[in-house]
Each structure stands twice: as structure tokens, then as C-alpha cells.
């Protein structure tokens, strides 16, 4: 393509046929939700003309459905809109807080969790929170929807498992059972408007005796993709998630991290901090589960 073009399809089939036609013609496409990453990238390092496919005009990408078993969050819903739902905030406080950490009020008026996931940055704040909550990507394809757990969706820095003929419709999250809590913490050197040096998301479920029966721990900004850390979860299951248990999970996160040194932090610093964040997020998740 010699110039940019823009289309705003209104159904899943229409998006898929636009993507398939473009692929057939060798045209580059770009999915567009809130645009807070895409438009910045278009103006800076990647200004090659392409067909912009706006996915905000579909019922499915704008849907929030809170069911008895499952919660569905459409890929294009701005985080500012999600954070106005008291029900979602009480069910998934950690996930909603992770979205609320990204950008200013203005950015949150556009930026979506689905976009954060598709941008696939190692430092995307919602991603460890999604993984901790066992979120599954619902991806539209020519042969129907396919579902991929978030931890398998990511394939590297800025890359994911979707082909150019597929797009993310939304995320499915198991409705948290009773006595479940989640939390996400990140470290930045200021209070707001920054990119994570390290981040950790934790979800824990307890039985009636206060023993942890299920745990999920994920870390961000310390590897090419956010990571699920089963060793940290194993350190919590079967325990009361007391300080010593959380310290074992902390050690497992530091061990699982494979960070780089850059302007935001060194390898040693990130490895240490990501463990501390896991311990602290675990304590918050426990408090939420048991309150």
C-alpha cells in the first residue's frame, strides 16, 4: 500500500474478510482498538502505510458479561469504562487496578486491556494480572473462535500467536470462586504515568479453614514475555499464605525472572524487586480473599 487507509467493520465476519482480502493482496493491516500504542508507533518508528482495521464497532468487542461461571471482557473496552463497574472491581480488583495503573485519565478513556495484550509488551501491566486470573484469549478465525490461555498467547517482545488473518475478540476469565482474591503490584520510580520496572500478579483461593487450595502467580517486565510461575504458586498451595510461605513464593519469582539491564533497572535489581512485589501482592490477595 502506498497510503494509509481506514475501515471500521461492524461484525466479526466483516473484520475477518477485510483481513483475509488484505492478506490475499499482500497488504499490511493493523488492528486498531484504543490506538494509544498503535498511533504512537505509527508516528515514530513504524510509519509504513497500512490498512487500519478499527475493531471498536463490534458488539462482541464492546461486551462485558458477568456470568455465574465466567466473565467476558470485550477486547476494545477502554479501561476507564471498565473501572466504572463496581461489580467488576469487586470481583477482579487486581485486574482492574492493573488497568488503572496504565496512563493518564485521557489514555484510560481509550486504552483497552485487549490492546495491552495485543501490544504484547513485556511490561504490559494488565498481562500478569490476566495470567494470575487464568484469563483465556478468544481469537476470531475463519474457522470459528479459538481460545488460548494468555500465558501461551505471548510469544516474545511485541509478538503473539495471532496470524494477520485473526483478531482478539475478548478475554474469558473464570468467575472467582468464594474466598478468592487477586492483586497486581508494579514498581516504578514515581507515583504515576510510567512503565513497570517489574510487576507481579497473584490470585489465591482458600478453603473454609483458611488453607490455600489454588494459586496463580505471574511476573512481568522481567523476561521477554510475562511469565506464569508455577513454582511460586506451589509454594502457596496447602499453606495459610503466611509470611514464610510468601517468602518462598518470592524466592521462586526471583529465580524464574530472566530480566535485562536497561535504563529502568538492572538485572540484579529487577530480580530482587519482582520477588518482593510477589510477596506483597500475595499478602493483598490473601487479605481480599479472606475479607
Amino acid at each position: 500500500m502506498s497510503t494509509y487507509a481506514y475501515v471500521a467493520p461492524t461484525s466479526i465476519d466483516e473484520v475477518l474478510s477485510v483481513l483475509a482480502n488484505a492478506a490475499g493482496n499482500g497488504e499490511r493491516t493493523q488492528l486498531l482498538a484504543g490506538g494509544t500504542d498503535v498511533i504512537v508507533q505509527m508516528r515514530s518508528f513504524d510509519n509504513e502505510p497500512r490498512l487500519l482495521v478499527d475493531v471498536k464497532h463490534l458488539a462482541e468487542t464492546n461486551e462485558v458479561n458477568i456470568g455465574d461461571e465466567e466473565i467476558f471482557i470485550g477486547a476494545a473496552i477502554p479501561s476507564g469504562v471498565l473501572n466504572e463497574s463496581d461489580e467488576l472491581k469487586s470481583l477482579l480488583p487486581g485486574l482492574l487496578e492493573s488497568a488503572d495503573l496504565i496512563g493518564s485519565t485521557q489514555i484510560q478513556g481509550r486504552a483497552s486491556i485487549g490492546g495491552n495484550l495485543c501490544n504484547s509488551s513485556p511490561a504490559g501491566d494488565t498481562i500478569p494480572a490476566l495470567i494470575a486470573n487464568s484469563a483465556v484469549c478468544v481469537i476470531a478465525t475463519r474457522s470459528g473462535n479459538r481460545e488460548v490461555p494468555v500465558e501461551d498467547f505471548l510469544t516474545g517482545v511485541g509478538t503473539n500467536c495471532m496470524s494477520a488473518e485473526e483478531f482478539l475478540v475478548g478475554m474469558k476469565i473464570r468467575r472467582p470462586p468464594p474466598r478468592t482474591g487477586d492483586a497486581y503490584l508494579r514498581f516504578i520510580p514515581r507515583t504515576e504515568m510510567d512503565i513497570a520496572v517489574a510487576g507481579a500478579g497473584v490470585s489465591v483461593t482458600f478453603d473454609g479453614d483458611g488453607v490455600c487450595t489454588r494459586a496463580r502467580v505471574s511476573i512481568g517486565a522481567v523476561a521477554p514475555t510475562a511469565l506464569l510461575v508455577p513454582e511460586a504458586a506451589q509454594a502457596l498451595v496447602g499453606t495459610k499464605v503466611d509470611d514464610g510461605d510468601l517468602r518462598a513464593a518470592e524466592a521462586a519469582c526471583s529465580e524464574a525472572a530472566s530480566p535485562i539491564t536497561d535504563k529502568r533497572g538492572t538485572v540484579e535489581y529487577r530480580r530482587h524487586v519482582v520477588g518482593v512485589l510477589c510477596r506483597r501482592a500475595g499478602a493483598i490477595a490473601k487479605e481480599r480473599a479472606l475479607s
Binding site: 471500521a8 490506538g35 498511533i39 469504562v81 485519565t105 478513556g109
Partner: protein, 160 residues
């Protein structure tokens, strides 16, 4: 052949029609096609908030919205804040408190501050500072801006 996109939108209550290119921003559309130059461009990457407008009632950076995305939407810019009776109280308080120096960030601050007071008429200082964290000012040091917003909130509370 470049084909322009026809956009029908409502700006400050007025129906508007414009032609834009796919990669053109809403900011470009407002300034270059509709002549509404009150909205300023600062960074062009969504960091500074100088280009803040309301899109269907929600605060956004107009540099990070495509002109084409404004199709069928309602846009409110700084030009739509004052009414026939005069300045909005937020604008008046920015003047009284000298909450501006060079003025480039001011339209964005005023649109954002008014949106805050419309949503939360009695914000504390921390709420004001976090809400306005996406609006950068290199002149004032923010203190006068925060005081102007606090004073505007008080005045609105007394007048209602």
C-alpha cells in the same frame, strides 16, 4: 490514488463535515480542517495532554484519536467550554489565580479540570493532582493550577 475519508461529526454542539486522510488525527481535523485552533499540539504522543478534548463525554488526547474515528461522535473542545454568558468558572479561576504562563497547556488543563468537576464536584487535592497527571505544564509548577481548580469547585458548590 489517495481517497479521503468523509467524516460527519458534532463539535461543540454543531454538526460538522470534513475530509481527512486515514492517518490524520482528530487534532489535525480540528485545527487544520475545522479551524478550531484552541486545542494545542504538544508532544503528539499522548504524554502531555495539551490536545485534550471530550469524545462522547470522555476525556481523550485528540492526537491519539484518528479523525476518522470521530465519525458520528460528539467532540467538545476548549472553544465549547465558555457559553454566551461568558467564561466558565474554571476559565475565570485560571485567570484569577494566574494558573498559566505560556498558555500552551491551558486549553487541555481547562477541558480536563471541567470534566473532573462535572464528575466529582468536590475533589480533594490528591484527586485533582492524579486526574490532571496527564496534563503537563513546564511553567507554573502546577500549584496555581491546583488552587484554581479547588477555587472553581468551591464557587460551583456555592452557586448551585
Amino acid at each position: 490514488m489517495m481517497s479521503k475519508i468523509h467524516v460527519s461529526t458534532t463539535v461543540n454542539g454543531q454538526p460538522e463535515e470534513a475530509l481527512c486522510e486515514a492517518q490524520q488525527s482528530l487534532l489535525d481535523l480540528l485545527r487544520d480542517e475545522l479551524g478550531l485552533t484552541g486545542t494545542k499540539e504538544g508532544c503528539g504522543t499522548g504524554d502531555c495532554g495539551a490536545c485534550t478534548v471530550l469524545l462522547d463525554g470522555r476525556l481523550v488526547c485528540s492526537c491519539l484519536v484518528l479523525g476518522a474515528e470521530a465519525q458520528g461522535k460528539e467532540v467538545t473542545t476548549i472553544e465549547g467550554i465558555a457559553d454566551a454568558d461568558g467564561l466558565h468558572v474554571v476559565q475565570q479561576k485560571f485567570l484569577e489565580h494566574a494558573a498559566l504562563q505560556c498558555g500552551i497547556c491551558t486549553p487541555g488543563f481547562i477541558v480536563a479540570a471541567k470534566a473532573l468537576l462535572d464528575k466529582n464536584p468536590d475533589p480533594d487535592e490528591t484527586t485533582i493532582r492524579y486526574w490532571l497527571a496527564g496534563n503537563l505544564c513546564r511553567c507554573t509548577g502546577y500549584d496555581k493550577i491546583v488552587r484554581a481548580v479547588q477555587d472553581a469547585a468551591q464557587e460551583l458548590a456555592h452557586s448551585s
